[in-house]
């Protein structure tokens, strides 16, 4: 059984639908990436899984199954038990999720004592261990520091320490390194990966950076305008991205392995912007898609199985790939 399964999740805000019919599962111990441009619904999906949606959001349909039990039906008290202990979340903005007037030791201690009946003293000792675990030097001194004394990378390490304090089975990391330099990003993602193995937890890694996905994830879900448009394991995905949006994303990136230069080659663009799709029927990517056909404008395509572990919400590409394969037979 999967560790966690999101089934047919649709979340709406007044006037618009942010997440549409999203389904995916996370297996124990794996890193699953959730990728897409800003506003496509990644954070709303994450908040739904924690039942931490803002009050103006409404879950229209969907279940979140944790070890088989539906979190959507859990009581507030049950949810408090789940958060931190079974699933934790590292939020996009480290500064807004740390309390500026409390020392980091106090904040991590609170998380521990919320779930476990231990003395302050024990909590403090655990806290130092945790700071050590996330490689903060001089943990016994740093524990009394306040968030503003720490650099961006250190704050993110503190967030990670808080998130893993009670040994969750799933860690949701919402753009954990977007605000950091690449040098710090590599350190923080290696730390997350190391903790995943040592604590045998699964990680849902939310990012918009395909390089991060290629290097640190096992599987990928690509989202576009609230829907999942492609699901795949990492190697087949990067060997042959299938959805036109996935291909566009990969093509628009400056390739770090090649000596590309503006004087010799142009970057390939995805024309338009996400907003182009507003109010249209059919495939949400149609206004920007180089492969669009008239049939695409009728109903939004659902995810179709291509091979084991791979699904793509684009019948046109699926057909093209199948024909191509037959020709090379």
């Amino acid at each position: 059984m999967s560790l966690l399964a999101v089934e047919n999740l649709t979340v709406a805000f007044p006037g618009h639908v942010a997440v549409r019919e999203v389904s995916f599962a996370i297996e124990p111990g794996e890193t699953l990436a959730l990728v897409g441009e800003s506003g496509c619904g990644k954070s709303v999906t994450a908040f739904s899984m924690m039942r931490l949606l803002p009050p103006n959001a409404r879950v229209v349909t969907g279940r979140i199954l944790l070890d088989g039990a539906d979190l959507m039906a859990a009581s507030p008290a049950e949810m408090r038990e789940v958060r931190g202990k079974k699933i934790s979340l590292i939020q996009q903005e480290p500064m807004t999720s740390l309390n500026p007037v409390l020392s980091i030791g106090t904040q991590i201690g609170e998380v521990i004592r919320r779930h476990e009946k231990v003395s302050r003293r024990t909590a403090r000792a655990r806290c130092i261990e945790l700071l050590d675990l996330v490689s903060i030097p001089d943990a016994h001194r740093r524990i009394d520091d306040y968030p503003h004394n720490l650099s961006g990378g250190m704050r993110q390490r503190v967030m990670i320490a808080m998130a893993v304090a009670c040994g969750p089975k799933l860690l949701i990391a919402d753009e954990p390194t977007t605000a950091l330099d690449v040098t710090t990003q590599a350190q923080v993602l290696d730390l997350l990966d190391d903790l995943r193995r040592r604590l045998s937890m699964a990680v849902l890694l939310i990012t918009h950076d395909l390089g991060v996905v290629a290097q640190w994830a096992d599987r990928i879900n690509v989202m576009y305008a609230g829907r999942i448009v492609e699901q795949a394991a990492i190697r087949p995905f990067f060997a042959q991205p299938m959805h036109p949006y996935s291909r566009g994303l990969l093509g628009a990136r400056v390739d770090v392995d090649a000596d590309e230069h503006y004087s010799a080659s142009r970057l390939s663009e995805i024309p338009g912007s996400v907003g182009s799709a507003a109010g249209e029927a059919g495939c949400p990517f149609a206004p920007r898609c180089p492969m669009v056909e008239t049939s695409c404008r009728v109903v939004p395509p659902s995810l179709l199985a291509f091979e084991a572990g791979r699904r793509v919400a684009c019948p046109v590409s699926l057909q093209a790939v199948t024909l191509e394969a037959a020709r090379h037979g």
Binding site: E37, D181, T184, Q187, H208, R235, D259, L267, S273
Partner: protein, 312 residues
């Protein structure tokens, strides 16, 4: 060699932080040739934006010289500076933050033109229509407000505002960092086209070495207020010499999952304490005793290639 468009000599910029002095730019020299793009890369806080703003005289320098088109503008007063301001413009990371939400795009552009006394009414009108089309905005954009545009379109407005004045030099400060990948490519391509068509020169600031190397002719790598390596884009890619530059390259995540990723090349983050010796030595994997006591100076390590490392 032809006279460069911009020549910066031994520039220093300091900020007062409480009782302490922060040397945000600490002795930087470089040139930007006509039609050239110079890239400036380094981690957050190393002084890139401060350098850009100092060059544009938006932040005062305490030492050094800024020469634009042969004229020393380092200490010109407001009156004398006015004619040079139009010639150098800036494009910001967050175009929204720098646009007044209550002004239509027409007001934004017209104000810029009026401040710099550009043309009569008809001429200004013509130039505004022309630039809006040139940066790829719809024709009706002029009479709309900033919030009616997407992030990418707002960046096009920022570009139009800089270009309507027909500058020679543009400082682009992280112009694509806040944009989605699919939009970044559109904006970078637009900047390339504009440079070619209008003969612009760019100082292109970014923390992303892959973008800088693609977009610049020459690259300056900055660390704690100093340039630690400078080279043409091709040389830097083929033969980076400074351990910091190598670390920046190594930290870029490849989209090839079979490309084995090594351990993070450097530990820790940028600090602001300037000890004696090499500024990078607390993080440098190759540091020796010499590095801790003797500061390496920027020296030539090849044709048009400079590095500030004892062992480069």
């Amino acid at each position: 060699m032809a006279e460069p468009l911009l020549s910066v000599r031994d520039l220093h910029t300091r900020y007062a932080v409480g009782k302490q002095v922060l040397r945000a730019v600490d002795g930087v020299s470089f040139e930007v040739g006509r039609g050239e793009t110079v890239g400036l890369v380094g981690e957050s806080g190393c002084g890139k934006s401060t350098l850009g703003k100092t060059v544009l005289r938006l932040v005062p320098s305490v030492e050094g010289a800024i020469v634009l088109d042969g004229a020393d503008i380092t200490r010109l007063g407001d009156g004398a500076m006015a004619q040079h301001r139009r010639r150098m413009q800036m494009i910001f990371q967050d175009p929204f933050g720098s646009l007044n939400p209550r002004q239509t795009i027409r007001t934004v552009l017209d104000t810029a033109l009026k401040v710099h006394r550009q043309g009569d009414r008809a001429e200004r009108r013509r130039r505004m229509t022309e630039i809006v089309e040139r940066v790829g905005l719809p024709a009706d954009a002029l009479d709309r407000y900033p919030h009616e545009f997407s992030g990418g379109q707002r960046q096009r407005i920022g570009i139009a505002r800089a270009l309507v004045l027909r500058p020679a030099l543009i400082v682009c400060d992280e112009p694509v960092s806040a944009l989605d990948v699919s939009i970044q490519a559109q904006i970078l391509n637009l900047l390339v086209d504009l440079k070619r068509d209008l003969g612009l020169s760019y100082l292109f600031i970014s923390h992303d070495l892959s973008v800088v190397r693609y977009f610049a002719d020459r690259v300056l790598v900055m660390y704690l207020g100093r340039i630690v390596e400078s080279a043409s884009h091709a040389t830097l890619w083929r033969d980076p010499r400074h351990p910091y530059t190598k670390a920046l390259f190594a930290a870029l995540p490849s989209t090839d999952p079979t490309h084995k990723r090594g351990a993070p090349p450097i530990k820790g983050e940028l600090t602001t304490d300037l000890s004696s010796g090499c500024r990078f030595c607390s993080r440098c994997p190759a540091a020796t005793d010499r590095c801790r006591s003797e500061e390496p100076l920027l020296r030539s390590v090849g044709e048009g290639h400079h590095a500030a490392c004892h062992y480069a």
